[in-house]
Symmetry: none
Subunit: 197 residues, 4 copies
DNA sequence: CATGAATGAGTTTTCATTCAT
DNA sequence: TATGAATGAAAACTCATTCAT
């Protein structure tokens, strides 16, 4: 069971993670955190060293939410191709997923932190690396199972998949139109299906 | 010829645009602007209403730089396909282009501003719309000239192109590796070439 | 025998007294007290009304340590002159005495509290008065015993002794050199010996 | 002529120096500084890097005031002995001298900073060194002029003088009685006169 | 038009203290 | 009595903006 402190920490992270994703690190103030949690400043600082630590934990939480969602969706699918299709299927409707409403945290954090916040940058880079190897592993397995063409370049496909997803999310968020998303996810779905042996 | 005021405005924009692109709107302070320009705060405020106005002008400048570069590159190319290849050729080396070193301003501004800064958001959205229709027009012309397959879906291709570019830039920036960029731009080059009739 | 509560109080005082002496009242936080004691904030506040009360008790403890040391040293000495020489002999090596390592608490508390903390100020003033009358009594006894010249001005000598000690401690502490201390204590030893009848 | 900034800096130092001397570094807040000056926090920070910098400048100012006063008093005196007597004459009435009302800044700063504030500690140590060599030089000159016994140990006398002054100031401040001061300064005057050849 | 000192609201963080467990 | 999470006031410091010169 979680201690009181661990529960509060968890609570703070859950309540503030969407705020960080929406407003960014520099755009989120400690006041925003107290408003989101209903807790006092002292309480935030009683449970976290500083704003950085909250932001880093919030990123982990946000990314964890996505991972968890994708994983659980994949378990409902039978074939590798269908599992890979979870990506376009998920991001196609990202605006309706509460943890993606404000956009993909990997994208948001990457663009903000790359030149300004080394620790967040590293978290985002690690998240991308994790994502990439997850896709690669799926493809590898598909090849082994004879589902996917054996000459498929897994690392390259992973990168293209991620580019398409993040580039489309960015366009959809800022234009407030679903078209770029649908178009890109349709395209991604098609090239995933074309992996089939 | 430009008036004194217009020249100072222009000077401020030129000097501060890279700063805004690197640190973002919330991450850039007026002090950063005085340091970048060597001018006083009073001078910044004598030439711009407020920080917003500088940021908006800086975005226009940053985007204009890209447009200008792409256009001039395209004029050196003969065929439409080759002109389209300017996109991957340019972004493949974006870290070496001074106005793209800190990443694509459209990407950076979009992810920061989408939920926080309506005016910047609109600028970014317009930039994307402009980019999209530029690509569409090129493809259209390619079709008319018989260079590109007539059944090409121009709007869809434009969106995919932009997704690939921005998604790849994001990955390259945050991981500090060129691989995702090369892979994505190789892929983009290939599908551009495959447009050929 | 001491009750549990009294023992905890005593424990807190012993552990925090050196901290107060080193960092001063304003420079010592409750956190410093929990670190020094290994106890919780609640425990500090369960045994003391507030920070003030701990500080006052800590001063008493610090001063008591000095008194106790001086007294026990004096009992090993036979003559009054030799007993008086305990002062220079003790302070000459004050950096090696654990309860004086951070300087004389009377000096430290006096200079911090004189204009800012009435209760601490009074404690320090009382300590000085006690010290003074101790020296006076010794001299008086020396006169009665025929050891010390009968025309000696005991109150004046006491004040001069204290000035020399405290002034020298201050110089030694801040310059981190022993020379001022040795010089002043040599001088004090000499004038003490000159009291001899 | 002083620039506006230099005048404001000077003004802040003048107004806050007595506050720092009275309440100490840790006991003085930025709010205290705005109240003492009538200026805003922004103005304090516009003219000084941080609280440290104000405190260091305030110490220099406070010490400078003493030096200036002592020097100007000495110029009114003819003999070296009389010049040396400026010390007891000055400190005997220190409570009436505006820049010494809250006690000697060297004493106050030394006892607060010795274990807590390296920069202030160094300033105080340098002030003591300066004071010491000033006294030594005077004695040296007295010896050269035949006014002072040639076998006088100048460094030792300087240390004793400083000990007597600072130890007496401490006692007078905290007990709020002039007696310790008068007694110590009487004693100091006597031993200064005894330097006479 | 340019300067830069000044402002006051806002930022992040620390503090002494309380109180439910 | 002991704990340590929670509090709210205050700390140090920053920021966008103004305005007298």
């Amino acid at each position: 069971m979680l201690s009181k402190a661990e529960r509060t920490r968890q609570y703070i992270v859950e309540k503030t993670a969407p705020v960080f994703n929406e407003r960014g690190y520099a755009g989120t103030s400690i006041n925003d955190l107290t408003e989101a949690t209903g807790l006092s400043k002292g309480s935030i600082y009683g449970n976290f060293e500083n704003k950085d630590e909250v932001a880093l934990a919030a990123f982990d939480y946000n990314f964890g939410q996505i991972i968890h969602y994708l994983k659980s969706e994949m378990t409902t699918r039978e074939t590798i191709i269908e599992k890979l299709l979870v990506y376009p299927d998920t991001y196609r409707n990202f605006l309706e997923l509460p943890f993606l409403k404000a956009g993909c945290p990997v994208l948001n954090t990457s663009t903000e932190a790359d030149d300004t916040h080394p620790l967040l940058r590293e978290k985002a880079a690690n998240a991308l690396a994790f994502w990439k190897s997850s896709v690669e592993r799926l493809i590898q397995k598909g090849i082994e199972l004879g589902e996917i063409k054996p000459d498929t370049n897994a690392p390259a496909f992973a990168v293209v998949l991620m580019s398409l997803v993040e580039g489309a999310v960015m366009q959809a968020k800022v234009t407030r139109q679903v078209e770029p998303l649908q178009v890109s996810m349709d395209y991604l779905s098609r090239i995933i299906r074309e992996l089939g042996a």
